[in-house]
Amino acid sequence: MTDWLDTVRTLGWQWQLVGAAAAGLAILLVGNRLLKAATWGSPRALVETSQLYVRLRALPPATLFRWRVGVGLQVVVYDEATDEEKEMPSGLRPDRAGPGLAFWMWGERPRSAAFVAARVRRDFLVRLVCFFWFFLGGFVVLVRLAITESPLWLVALVFLLVHQLATSATGRYILFEQPRHAVLLAVAAFLFLRGGVLATVAVYALGAYFVLYVLGFWYMVSSGRMERLAVLRDAL
C-alpha cells in the first residue's frame, strides 16, 4: 500500500484533489454498502430471523399467509371452536432493506406457514453468509490491517464497532448517503494524500466525526419521542 501512496503523494496537488474527490465518493458508496451488508449479518438480525422461523414453525400447520394490497401481510387461521376462518394482520413486516426481501414477494396467493418459514430460512442463510463475509470479515480484516499496515486502521475498527453496537441496540440501518459526507471524505482524503501530520489529523478527525454521528443517531433514536414515532411508522 505504501508504494502507491508514495507515488500519489509525489503528484501535484491538482491531481491529488481529483483523486481525493473520486476517493471520497467511492468510499461513501462502497462503505455504505459494506456497512449495510454487515448490518444484514449482525447477530441481532440473525437472532430475530431465527426467532421468526421458530415462531412460524410453531403455528398450526393449516395457517395461511396472504398479502393484501394496501393492508399488508395477513394471516388466515381456522378456528375449530367457531368453525370460522379468521383473517387478521399477521404482525410480520419484512425488512424492506434486507437481503431476503425478494423471498417475501410471492404475490397475492395465500401461502402456508411452512412455505413462509422456508422463505425465512433462506433469508437466514443469506444473512448467515453476510455475517461471515461482512460482519465477522470486517472486524478480522480491520484488525489485520491495524497490525500489519498502520495503526490508523484502528480508527476504522472503532467506528465499525460503535456502528454495529448502535445498529444492534436500535434495530435500524445507520447509513451515510448524504452529499456532505462525500465532501468530508474527499477533504479528509485530500489531506491524507498531502501527507505529514495533517494526514494523521484528518483520519482521527474523520473517525471522531463519524463515531459521534453514530452516537448522536443512537441517542436520538433511543429517545422516547422517537420510539413513539417508530411505533406509529410501523403501524402504517
Binding site: 393449516a62 395461511l64 425478494a102 433462506r122 443469506v126
Partner: protein, 284 residues
C-alpha cells in the same frame, strides 16, 4: 332436521347446511360408491398407464403425459417418501378427482348438482385422508390449494380413518356438507386451471384416464368441465344458470380469488436457484 347414518345404510334425507347444500343429498359411500383409497387408486392408475402406453406414448406430448403419470403413480405408491415431497398433495387430489370422473362418467348422473359438488370434493380428498404417510407439511400444502378449514377437516378425517372408523367417508362427507365449500373449491379449480400449477397435471391425468381434455384457463371452466363429465348437460345448465344458487355461490367465491394468482412467481425461481446452489454445496 337431524340425519343419522347407520352402519351400511343408505340415507336420503333433508339436510340443513350452512348456505351451501340443501335438498336431498346422498351420503352413502360404500361398495361401488366408495371413494378410491390409495390402493384402489394405484390399481386404477396402473391399469390406465398400461392402456395409455399401448396407444399414445409415441409422440412427445404423449411422453410428457406419461412422465406426469409416472410421477403421480410414484406419489400414490408412497406419498410420505421424503424425496418426492414436491406437489404430493396436488398429485393426490388430481388423481382422486380423475379417478372419480373416469369411474362416474358412464354412470347415471346424480340427481342434484349439490351432490356432484360434494362427491367431487370427497373423492378428490379421499386419497389424502387414506394415505398412511404424508409429507410433514401436507396440511399447509392442502390449505394453499383449498382452504385452511378444509385442511383441518381432512386432518380430522385422517384421525377418524386411522382409528378404524368404518363410516369415516360418510362422516367426512357430512362434515363437508355442513360448510360452504365454494371458497375452497374455487381455489382448487383456480389451481387446476393454471398450467404452471395443477393445470398441466390435470390435463395429463384426464387424457390418460380417457376423459375429455379439460379447458384450463379459469376456475369456472375447469369446474364446468368436471360437473359436465359427472352430471352431463343438465348439471352444466344448472351451474351456468344465473338464477341458480350454485351459480351465485360459485361466482361469489371466484370473485374473492386473488388477482394475478396465475402470475409467474419470480421469487420461486430465485428460491429454487438458491436451493440448487445449497444442494450443490452440500453434495460437492
Amino acid at each position: 332436521m337431524h340425519n343419522h347414518v347407520a352402519e351400511g345404510a343408505t340415507v336420503m334425507g333433508h339436510v340443513v347446511q350452512a348456505g351451501t347444500f340443501s335438498g336431498q343429498v346422498h351420503f352413502h359411500y360404500r361398495d361401488q360408491n366408495a371413494p378410491l383409497d390409495l390402493l384402489s387408486l394405484r390399481r386404477w392408475l396402473d391399469r390406465v398407464a398400461e392402456d395409455f402406453r399401448a396407444v399414445a406414448e409415441q409422440d412427445r406430448t404423449g411422453r410428457e403425459h406419461g412422465k406426469r403419470l409416472d410421477s403421480t403413480r410414484a406419489v400414490v405408491a408412497d406419498p410420505g417418501q421424503e424425496s418426492r415431497q414436491r406437489d404430493v398433495i396436488r398429485r393426490l387430489l388430481v388423481a382422486g378427482l380423475c379417478g372419480y370422473l373416469a369411474r362416474t362418467r358412464d354412470a347415471a348422473p346424480p340427481p342434484l348438482p349439490e351432490q356432484i359438488l360434494l362427491d367431487l370434493v370427497v373423492f378428490a380428498l379421499w386419497p389424502v385422508v387414506t394415505a398412511r404417510r404424508l409429507p410433514r407439511d401436507w396440511q399447509g400444502e392442502l390449505a394453499e390449494i383449498t382452504s385452511a378449514r378444509l385442511a383441518s377437516l381432512v386432518a380430522q378425517a385422517r384421525t377418524s380413518w386411522r382409528s378404524g372408523d368404518g363410516t369415516a367417508a360418510e362422516t367426512f362427507a357430512r362434515a363437508l356438507a355442513r360448510r360452504s365449500l365454494f371458497p375452497a373449491m374455487s381455489v382448487l379449480f383456480d389451481d387446476l386451471a393454471d398450467p404452471r400449477r395443477g393445470g398441466a397435471l390435470l390435463t395429463s391425468m384426464a387424457l390418460v384416464g380417457g376423459l375429455p381434455e379439460p379447458r384450463t384457463g379459469t376456475a369456472r371452466t375447469v369446474f364446468v368441465w368436471a360437473v359436465g363429465i359427472v352430471g352431463g348437460a343438465a348439471a352444466v345448465t344448472v351451474v351456468l344458470d344465473r338464477e341458480s344458487q350454485v351459480h351465485r355461490l360459485l361466482e361469489e367465491a371466484i370473485a374473492t380469488l386473488p388477482d394475478g394468482s396465475a402470475d409467474l412467481d419470480l421469487t420461486e425461481l430465485l428460491a429454487e436457484f438458491i436451493d440448487a446452489l445449497l444442494e450443490q454445496g452440500g453434495t460437492g
